[in-house]
């Protein structure tokens, strides 16, 4: 009410008009204030969390979580999981993540998958873990898609199945996960879970390289130098190898030295300029 009075004062509403404004706001609190108050509580919690005032975050999100807000339920679970503003409790974290997951919260589903995979706060259960990752994946969570792919690829918690691995890693690659793009590149290169395809391999290595992933930069550098699945271009090749080396990739360092020896000073200078102008995208 005090806020409303201030509002009315601010806009110089007097007498009857002022009463009407206040009455109108009071008559429709659920329409006007409920969503704002809910959002404000969440945002206030978020600001407090970012500022390191975890007790305030806990208070704000608890209120919303108890009212069924799945975002607040997830974050409250994180506070318990990380022991921030509250005694660390995996059981409480799981409890809140389960509530958030029931509301379809993707990250809650993912974290529940991990909890079941490693038996943290719950009994170890690979089937449940896979189930949670699949639910999160079906909601478009790339991290869960990638996890599933890697689990099938190495037979971690599931029977090894390279075609399943390819399917899930491809989903994550298409969502832009650079490690997934790099891995899909390798799967195309080796014909793992799919037919070998040098052009597709180069395309995915290039996608990951463009995001700044050093391993992929080394791979695409080597392919460009050989013209393997991609038009041969030694200057571009050297550019990628310089970038990979700069990120500390040891093999790229050797590859860069080998290629540099074959190129002219002008070509090396051009590659160096291109590398200097590179920005991940």
């Amino acid at each position: 009410m005090r806020i409303l009075q201030k509002l009315a004062m601010r806009y110089s509403i007097r007498g009857m008009a002022r009463s009407l404004v206040i009455a109108a706001f009071v008559a429709a609190p659920s329409i006007i204030f409920a969503p704002t108050a809910s959002g404000a509580g969440f945002d206030e919690g978020w600001r407090a969390y970012q500022a390191g005032n975890f007790a305030v975050a806990l208070r704000e999100w608890s209120t919303l979580a108890n009212a069924g807000n799945s975002r607040a339920q997830f974050n409250l679970g994180v506070l318990f999981d990380e022991g921030r503003g509250v005694e660390e409790s995996r059981a409480m974290a799981i409890d809140w993540w389960q509530k958030a997951a029931a509301g379809g919260h993707k990250q809650a589903l993912h974290n529940l998958g991990l909890a079941h995979l490693f038996g943290r706060g719950v009994a170890k259960d690979f089937d449940k873990a896979i189930g949670f990752f699949k639910q999160a994946s079906s909601r478009g969570l790339a991290r869960s898609q990638y996890n599933l792919g890697k689990m099938y690829a190495v037979g971690f918690g599931v029977e090894q199945d390279q075609s399943q691995a390819f399917k899930w890693i491809m989903m994550a690659a298409e969502s832009g996960v650079h490690q997934a793009q790099y891995n899909i590149g390798k799967m195309f290169r080796d014909g793992t879970g799919t037919d070998a395809d040098a052009r597709s391999a180069a395309r995915w290595f290039l996608a990951a390289a463009n995001q700044g992933y050093a391993k992929a930069q080394n791979h695409i550098g080597v392919r460009l130098a050989r013209g393997d699945g991609i038009q041969r271009n030694e200057i571009e090749a050297l550019k990628w190898l310089i970038l990979a080396e700069k990120s500390g990739h040891e093999l790229a360092s050797q590859n860069r030295r080998d290629l540099s020896m074959k190129l002219t000073i002008e070509q090396r200078a051009e590659a160096k300029t291109l590398a200097a102008g590179f920005a991940p995208r």
Partner: protein, 202 residues
């Protein structure tokens, strides 16, 4: 009794294995940790930065202060020698992420928290154990012990003990059981999965 003996043997093993650099002094190690503490404190208490930014800065600070390659190799134990070069690179990258994430979260984030160096004592022939107290506005203080060694590139932390539990020993024992069941590739996958956990979301 057997467990205790194993722990002592592992500690002695770490000491014997960990190289030939000159020994540090309690004073030198104390200053190193004190300096690290004040940098971490000023980062964590600085306004205008988000928690993620603060944690990223603390991670960078810890990355420069820990000898993560040494720790990573040690905790992998015998499996290090059997692992391929690619596996080692993958493992060390993930181990670094795993440790830095764990410790930057465990140590940081609270507004107004203070680090104090309590004391520093020689530990073995080459190391110093520096005890710190981390006081927080809410909750009990946390005591942490930092095992510091003088390496070629200066002082480095080679172990942390919180509530008497050594990070190096805990990880070594956990990793050994994973490697036993699933090999080094299984351990790499375990680390990769663990660092995929989501924290709070906006």
């Amino acid at each position: 009794m057997l467990k205790r003996s194993i722990t002592i043997i592992l500690f002695l093993g770490l000491m014997a294995w960990a190289g030939t650099a000159a020994a540090t002094t309690p004073d030198g190690a104390s200053k190193f940790i004190g300096n690290l503490s004040s940098k971490a404190s000023s980062t964590l208490n600085s306004g205008g930065l988000s928690l993620n930014q603060k944690e990223a800065q603390v991670r960078q600070l810890l990355s420069e202060s820990f000898d993560l390659k040494l720790i990573g190799r040690f905790v992998l134990g015998r499996a290090w020698k059997k692992s391929s070069k690619e596996q080692r690179v993958q493992y060390l990258g993930l181990f670094e992420q795993f440790v830095l994430r764990t410790y930057s979260r465990r140590l940081g984030g609270y507004t107004g928290q203070k680090f104090n160096v309590i004391n520093a004592k020689n530990f073995g022939k080459k190391d110093v154990l520096v005890t710190t107290k981390i006081s927080r506005p809410s909750g009990p203080p946390v005591e942490a012990r930092w095992r510091v060694r003088l390496r070629k590139k200066g002082h480095k932390i080679i172990d942390v003990m919180v509530a008497g539990v050594s990070m190096v020993q805990t990880q070594k024992s956990e990793f050994r059981s994973v490697v036993k069941r699933q090999g080094v590739s299984g351990l790499i996958e375990t680390l990769r999965l663990q660092v995929s956990k989501f924290s709070a979301q906006k």
